[in-house]
């Protein structure tokens, strides 16, 4: 690296759901202009063939701290590091941890380039479930007490938000979606329109539309994103659509 030390930066990049063309033009260019690509190996593998000359830094799953530290050290030594995340780096992603840890690397500039998170890419596959107010809730209790997750599920249901569930299941948490549905069913109708998308934008993508009562017994995994409609959401053919209120306006226009 022949750059002057202390002039490097870490650009935290949301790559979107997976395929290269689902990232923004700005995100692609930032990788192109970087010296180093860092990230969880699954995401780095999506782009490394396009950029054979870049230095690559990967660490295993759950080694987020180490990965961030390595990226910050490279930047401290003068490199421009593209730190890649799936979806959006600012939604359950690494942007927060990078900012926290960057306090120990005051010479390093941090920049975040947003990407399409699974709520948006999954919604596009299901139709238009998130047209109005919605809430994102992760069911992972790895770093959040389950009581807090339960409370958020209740509040989101009481507020008639459309709801997107991230991390709905894992091997150790096989019944978490069922538990979440039971809480939602205390408030919402069993007929509320719901949907799931597995492997959004990747090979083997599967979408499903069902009722909240049915969702309770759907088998999901960590590659699935779950959508619960609000009271106005309805099924149109094989799509899940939440109106914004235009129906009223439309009716008025039609009756002219």
């Amino acid at each position: 690296m022949d750059r002057k030390a202390g002039k490097g930066k870490v650009v935290v990049i949301g790559m979107g759901p997976g395929e290269i063309d689902q990232m923004t033009i700005e995100a692609y260019r930032a990788i192109e202009e970087s010296d180093v690509i860092a990230g969880y190996h699954v995401y780095v593998d999506l782009v490394r063939d396009r950029f054979p000359d870049k230095k690559i830094i990967t660490t295993a799953m759950r080694r987020e701290e180490e990965r961030c530290a390595l990226a910050l050290q490279e930047a401290e030594n003068g490199a421009d590091v593209a730190f890649v995340c799936s979806g959006d780096a600012g939604v359950y992603g690494m942007a927060g941890l990078i900012y926290e840890m960057a306090q120990d690397y005051p010479s390093v500039e941090i920049q975040v380039i947003p990407g399409v998170t699974a709520a948006l890419s999954g919604a596009a596959r299901l139709g238009a479930p998130l047209i109005h107010d919605f809430a994102l809730i992760s069911l992972s209790d790895l770093m959040t007490p389950w009581e807090k997750i339960e409370k958020r599920l209740r509040m989101a249901a009481e507020g008639d938000f459309a709801i997107v569930l991230y991390n709905p299941s894992s091997r150790k948490r096989a019944d978490y979606l069922q538990k979440a549905c039971d809480i939602l069913l205390e408030v919402l109708s069993p007929d509320q329109v719901c949907g799931t998308v597995r492997n959004i934008g990747r090979e083997g993508e599967v979408t499903r539309i069902c009722t909240l009562a049915e969702l309770r017994d759907v088998q999901v995994d960590m590659f699935t994103t779950v959508f619960v409609g609000n009271q106005s959401t309805r099924r149109i053919g094989d799509r899940m659509v939440t109106p914004r209120g235009y129906a009223r306006e439309r009716q008025a226009a039609d009756s002219k």
Copy 2:
């Protein structure tokens, strides 16, 4: 149009915050491959110079019904229509209305290409405020009763969600952000970290970090997106960062 009638489609495209390179590669290609570009003139103007050969369909603000009908008619006649929206077409965008109206155009295929909504692009500018669960709420009561908006504000605050406010103000609703803050202040601390971004990703972009008490008296307009942190959100330098819980893990690692 020399295509066979009945084979057209409407591709509803989220363009992201504004500049061309903030849209996904997939979105750009879909415009490139279309015969017609439709949309609100402000958004169409962002891309029309790049595609001088395309037929253009625009209508004025508030003429969403008419704009969708024209796009669907073009597709029914065999054209591929790129229907462009700012941000994400599925978040307070046109994807829902297109699906609703498309019921009257059964031969037309509908596809949605997601984009970076203001919650994500604004968050990237402010730091990392949306790292954990969050809720999106529009303060526009044009098509939603204000009581419903109030309820959602209360539930989001009770659930300790980070909150993003869309449409925080307009000429007719100059005091809506103040009203919203007063409701949030019934539940949240006046010191809760908040942020605003105006003209995200466009010329004249302005970011601001403040407390919830200060936010109450900030002047905002319809080009501003407002962020309210959750209980864990803190200010790091000039950034707003919500931890995911890694701090605990980090401390454990440091003490080894």
